[in-house]
Amino acid sequence: MTRIRQDWDQMRVGQTFGPFGYVVRPEVVESLRSAIGDEELVEVDGEAVAPAMLLTFPFLQLIEAKYEPPPGVIHAGQEFDLYAPVRVGAVLTCTGTITDMSRRRNRRYYSVASEAVDDRGVLVARSRTTAVYPEVDLRSRDY
């Protein structure tokens, strides 16, 4: 899929993302666990599971599958409602919608509400990601 350059002026509340398929690969789970030193809840009900915060990955990639972001988008807030373990090997289908765009204290914020359903049809999580869109667009500069 060809990505669109992400521009604030072309973003709209109500704009949708996905469906985006994301495979919970063992090597990604291991890389996350290794980075964070996370050896908790390796299995739930006899099945290997990922740290729940791995869900940040597909929820951000869901947006970046459509938009090529400018350098400097900064994470301002993250909410999760968790409903089921993230099984290693599961295929998550993610969808999202821009729910808010606003300017506060001279900064531009946008929020995306997302959800992930696994390949058993189970709702795994809902999420709301809030990000700050950079005031300076460095894409036209050389570094």
Partner: protein, 129 residues
């Protein structure tokens, strides 16, 4: 659950030194190679002090804390709200802690701060049964 979770009980701490290796490993896992995490010049051009860690590295440390303390109920009934207050500079030691504020439903206030006292994240978690 690994602790008797009465009001006032402290969860953690979970501690992580957020160095370049951690950031690189996290970036590969997340497929998030935003230059503000690797390039001081780009970061400064955007008003940051220099390259900063991904906010969700500290967020994932909080996730580790909650998984350790709340067990499997966390991944089935967890509700998490995080606000990223200040960026974490590379090389910082991040300490995540929680405090039980209610037992019905179980609610926890959360903080991640650097060893230097810079508040990186505030938040809350709840088990909604």
């Amino acid at each position: 659950m690994t602790t008797d979770l009465d009001v006032g009980v402290t969860l953690g701490p979970c501690v992580l030194v957020v160095d370049q290796q951690v950031v690189a490993r996290y970036a590969d896992a997340a497929d998030d190679h935003n230059p503000i995490h690797f390039d001081d010049e780009v970061a400064r051009a955007l008003g940051l002090p220099g390259a900063i860690a991904h906010g969700m590295i500290s967020g994932a440390l909080i996730g580790r804390l909650l998984a350790a303390e709340l067990g499997p109920q966390w991944v089935r009934h967890g509700r998490l709200r995080l606000k990223f207050v200040r960026p974490v500079e590379l090389g910082s030691t991040v300490v995540a802690r929680g405090w039980v504020t209610s037992t019905e439903p179980l609610s926890v206030e959360l903080r991640a701060e650097t060893a230097d006292g810079v508040l990186a994240i505030t938040g809350s978690a709840m088990l909604e049964m």
